[in-house]
Amino acid sequence: MSGEEHWNKIKIKPMRFLPQTDNEIAEMLAAVGAASIDDLIAHVPAQLRESAAIKLPAGLSEAQVAAELQALAKRNSGADRFRSFLGGGYYRHYIPAAVRAITARAEFATSYTPYQPEASQGTLQAIFEFQTLIAQLTGLDVANASMYDGASAAAEAVLMAHRISPRRGVVALARGLWPDYRLAIRTYLSAFPDVEIREIPFDGNQGSVSIDALRAAAGEKLLCIVTGYPNMFGIVEPLETISTLAHQAGALSISATAEPLALAMLKSPGELGVDIAVGEAQSFGLPLQFGGPGAGFFAARTAHLRQMPGRLVGETRDREGRRAFCLTLATREQHIRRERATSNICTNHSLCALAAAVYLSMFGGRGLRELAERNVEIAHYTADRLASAGIQRRLSGPFFNEFVAAVGSPANAIQAAERRGVLAGVPLGRDYPELGNGLLICATEMNQPADIDLLCDAMREVA
């Protein structure tokens, strides 16, 4: 039986989300003076109505839909039947049950953007707490209510730099920035003919940005430098040196962080002279979900507040003097400023920001630091074990929870690992031909020593 025949056999007329009974529909039609619902759309040109039928299979019962989705989910064996060392922009971390329990609450999940503050204090206060947590973590003055993801947040940061210094046109992108982040920046900037994007190579031994190449780019037209912290290779970039170079040229220093857990361990971007710190908050309580939704974060200094994109929640008072929260500084935004807005963003990733706020509140400063330390330890343990098995690190700079291993053939290594039920890592050859034999291996608190045994076995097999 074909798929379509199958559906047609079991089809139903779905009613469960549509509460109007036939009687009520008749009464409502009488109230509006129409004979049928089709009368209400009779003004739509007939030519359009005639071809509007939706030729999709008929609706299904909840049990049927659930079975169909479960079958699809099962065909993703890579999700839950492998021991994984995948990282490279999205990270595997345990999510405390409390996070899902809170974000699943319909009071949060089914509310709209908090335009009516009196009816939205829950969302507003939680986002105010998120803003505070991100500001603390990045060491900057203010953070916004969230962006879509790390890549678009990085693009918005460059646009913000352009608003601050409109006469400068050279954007220096460290090549160690994730490929998707570099592509998003290019796409967002594609309609700005006066902006030139230069990729700054990384030091082939260390894996951090080449300071000599950066110095060569740091002329009077330099608008900003964007650096991954840690970068795509897990390497901790010398952010202070980079920021100093940027500032000496009169430019801004922007850091992008895809693994924000590292910020519980490393000196904060703000402490290292960064002007705008952006990144991806997925590590803080959001499931992998094949890459989205996560939540972009965006932090900056007060001096640049009016140029920030996105929503901001501020503290205020109600008529009787009680503490209250509301969206504020909306005159930067599209619904007020239209084509002169700082950004076109409207819907952001509020519920994901809530997840991050709950996650960070659960861990607290000490718990988060300890988790970060565990990540450093297991990643270094993995690198050491691989070294004992004859697989060396390709890049020597200090790293957080992922590193590049030099393997003879990444494709063979990945296959050998897969046969043992292990996802060995992300091959880098496509995006970084200069690291052709590089395999990006990420180890987090989700990895057990037994996983590492299997990984080492696989690598030995193909070495």
């Binding site: 409390a98 796409t187 000196k267």
Partner: protein
Amino acid sequence: MAGAGKIRPAQTASETPELAAAAASNTRWAVPLIFEESVAGRSGVDLPRRQFESRPAIDLIGADLCRGALEDFPQASEPQVMRHFLRLSQLNFAQALQFYPLGSCTMKYNPVLNDECAQLPGFAALHPHTPAHLAQGALELMAKLEQALAEISGMDAISLHPAAGAQGELSGLLIIRACHMKRGQPRHKVIIPDTAHGTNPASSALAGFHVVVAKSGDRGYLEASQIARLVDDDTAALMVTNPSTLGIFEPEIREIANLLHERGAMLYLDGANMNALMGVAKPGDMGADVVQFNLHKTFSTPHGGGGPGAGPIGVKRHLEPFLATPRIVRDSDGYRLDSDRPDSIGKLRSFYGNFGMLVRAYTYILALGGDGLEQVSRRAILCANYIRERLRDHFPNATDQPVMHECVLTHDLEKKKGVSTLDIAKRLLDFGIHPPTIYFPLVVHGALMIEPTETESRQTLDDFVAAMERIYGEAMENPELLKQAPHALALRRVDEALAARRPLLRWTKP
């Protein structure tokens, strides 16, 4: 009047027993910030014991690279964190709790199964770098969702990448720009009606276009003759929402598309109001070259207090080469991701879209099927017409055109009693109803933009009508009651001007 007996608003909380009860219950507490509830030494997580010997992390990474403790972070136990956020949740209005007729936002019921499916481990635990042969279910779901959206909209190719409607707009406009460039005729202007959502001009500016504003005609819709006067050889596209933000179906849309195409320009159709169109009129048949979908509106993914949403776009065949990478393709080995697209605009975000929201939307489409989706739009239109008719005495429609899934109403209370639309909105809160979108579209003075959606019962609509009528009466007798509203919530009216005057955007340790 059905349901009117249930409407019992208050003058003040203390005057009415049920509000006094509410005051004593959970809606009245003030919740300290999580930082203020912090007690040194507490934690909400316990980490397992280390399973191997290791040097201290700080030595492994280098002490000079490491920060000190995160001293100002909250320290709280799990029960404390749960209570904190659950108490906060009680301070929200939400679609699942009450009528939420925000115009152009489509606050329909979000089926519970959608969320449950998105949490299935096969979806939730799937890493975006998983090799394609181990992620066939996800890729198949995305391919099938693309097919379904193409069928619903009459477009040829769908891109699921954009994270939200505004990002969909930006990618659609960049695609139009890229296509004109490829033809060797770069164009610089985008025409946008004055009724448009603010993201339209903002996205156009970001995509490098100069915005030309088209004034709505006297009849409240776009007239082909007027667009003909505005289109020239430098016009890249017309960006139009259909139905418009006045809830009116653009009757001349087909003629407008034809005349745009004759001049080499394109039609961008903002699909924010797609909830009116399913089985009624397909954007593809209207002549749209690009349309964006807001899955968090029409396709029932939850709004989340402001996202995450998802804003896929559909395009006609001639624009397909320009879509963002990667594209999902199918060959003899199954589904895979293809990034080898030389004309692509590139990427606007990481990976492949807000997949978790795509699962929810696909679940919804499967549940309703083609017939069901057609019913959705028809009933949404019935509900909006019903409200418009029932309220017409005191809240007349802004135009005399037939309305689709939402209506924009006005009132004379400002003139008669100095009561503003904002006052009406705040008073509605006392009835446990979320107010409509207000002061939008900008072309209607004091607008109340009402979108009931198809998932509300007649009873709910009647309760809303009764509340609006009662508020009208209150405004005539005691305008101060409205100007002081809300009365029955945890907070009185919030001073938004103060927040902007003296921005306080984070907590700092006292």
